[in-house]
Subunit: 285 residues, 2 copies
């Protein structure tokens, strides 16, 4: 599968996976080694699921969901399959984020602590709610077959922007969570003595920012975009009209950086280019 | 000056200015009403310049610097003028950010407090250093006339990405700073009792996130991009060769979402379209 700068892509992808995986490991080491461990009993052991699940689901899995269309070896897979994987990963991330919220609310109720007073909680709960909304709207508009093409074309730039903005917001929220935990004075020795826990947890924060930086770079390189589907008339022969329209729709929708007028002229261009291979078509974007 | 969705642009621009201005006002009210006020004497009064200068310079002014090319009434101004304004605003932001660092370091030295142990400080100092690096490199590569066009074309996508990433990182850092301040237990009544100061400062955090969201939306809409300069041969007649090359260079550089090959074919396209007005040219992007 031809791709501009394939080696560069692969290097960044492997780095992102490594940094994301390391973030999850660091979070586990943090709660198991520096904190009380894991459990589901209302104590700090239950709270500790909160960082583990948010870093695993809301950062690592959400990050993978964002770049899944960009893996060149999936470009021969149907768009429907890739959309299902994108939606599936985001659903897993949403479920883990919700369990992470339950863990902290139950822990605070058991300890009779007040809830929802911090900026971390305000932004975090809003982010989970908007993430679920994004998931439901995305499912209805892009995965179910009956949304009109024009609606998909209008919503796609908003979907892309909201998704990336929510991903950034989640990273911000986690950095506030780390800060909150380390400043609420529960570490021994104190955070301001450069305690091993403080340095370790700061490093976790840096890893999460680095993971975000890599995902943002990968997802904003135009040359690594999934190529447009072949013209609808090709797909109709092997997938029926619905599948064919699907292909065209997502090609349109995928052009998050084009206005409606440009999309229309682009369809015309694509029709003229009928018969070019994927790589050839990509250069018309 | 014709622009797709001009009213929408104007609405978002006014909202961004309002929210950014409100963020600065909220920060001033915070330090003047809820905290000790402002001064330069090593005490908390000096520390308080830290939030005021970071929100004013590193958020509001940096945000303006990011979108300055998108103001349609500047599209008739020369690219050199706009680049100077962009660089100038970023220089002001950098100077305010550095003074903000001096304020907090001098305050902590006067109080004999340890420095640089928090995630906020690690990321914040790194962000200031990288921001200055971005400014110096941007000045040498895009504003000084002698950088080769090929270098500008290669660096532009990195410059755009780094700039937006740093802007996001600064917002993250400020949210950590708010969290740090409110959790270090200096508020009366306590933060977790939904104190007026807590709610007010959380609201400031939300305003800053909203400002970031508006700037990111405005700067990522392709239809609001500054139109390409007319072909170099036009400019040569009224600006000499150097000015003409300038125009072409920045048109190339401005296509942060195009590969080199696409840029080259694009130049050819533009040459064919010679004579179209700005708006007509834009639709070829």
């Amino acid at each position: 599968m031809a791709m501009d700068g394939y080696k560069g892509f692969l290097g960044l992808l492997v780095s992102a996976l490594l940094v994301g995986f390391l973030s999850v490991i660091f979070t586990l080491v943090w709660v198991l080694h520096y904190r009380e461990g894991l459990g589901w009993d209302g104590t700090a052991l239950q709270f500790n699921w909160h960082p583990v699940l948010t870093v695993t689901g809301f950062v690592f899995i959400q990050g993978l969901a964002i770049i899944v269309y960009r893996l060149p070896w999936t470009w021969k897979c149907s768009k429907l399959l890739m959309k299902s994987i994108h939606a599936g990963l985001n659903t897993v991330a949403a479920i883990l984020a919700i369990i992470a919220l339950v863990a902290v609310f139950e822990n605070r109720r058991a300890l009779n602590l007040p809830n929802m007073y911090s900026l971390h909680s305000w932004i975090g709960v809003t982010a989970v709610a908007l993430y679920v909304l994004q998931l439901v709207l995305g499912f209805c508009i892009f995965l179910l077959p009956w949304a009109p093409l024009s609606l998909r074309a209008i919503v796609m730039p908003i979907h892309v922007y909201s998704g990336l903005f929510l991903f950034g917001t989640v990273i911000m929220t986690i950095l506030m969570g780390i800060t909150e935990k380390l400043f609420s004075g529960q570490t021994t020795p104190a955070y301001n003595t450069f305690s091993p826990e403080g340095i370790f947890t700061n490093t976790l924060g840096l890893l999460i920012v680095l993971f975000g930086a890599l995902i943002f770079w990968i997802v904003t390189r135009p040359q690594w975009k999934r190529p447009k589907e072949p013209d609808a008339s090709i797909l109709q022969s092997n997938g029926g009209t619905a599948e064919g329209m699907e292909g065209v729709t997502m090609s349109l929708g995928g052009n998050a950086d084009k206005s409606d007028a440009e999309i229309n002229s682009d369809v015309a261009t694509r029709k003229r280019n009928f018969g070019l291979d994927d790589t050839g078509q990509r250069s018309t974007m």
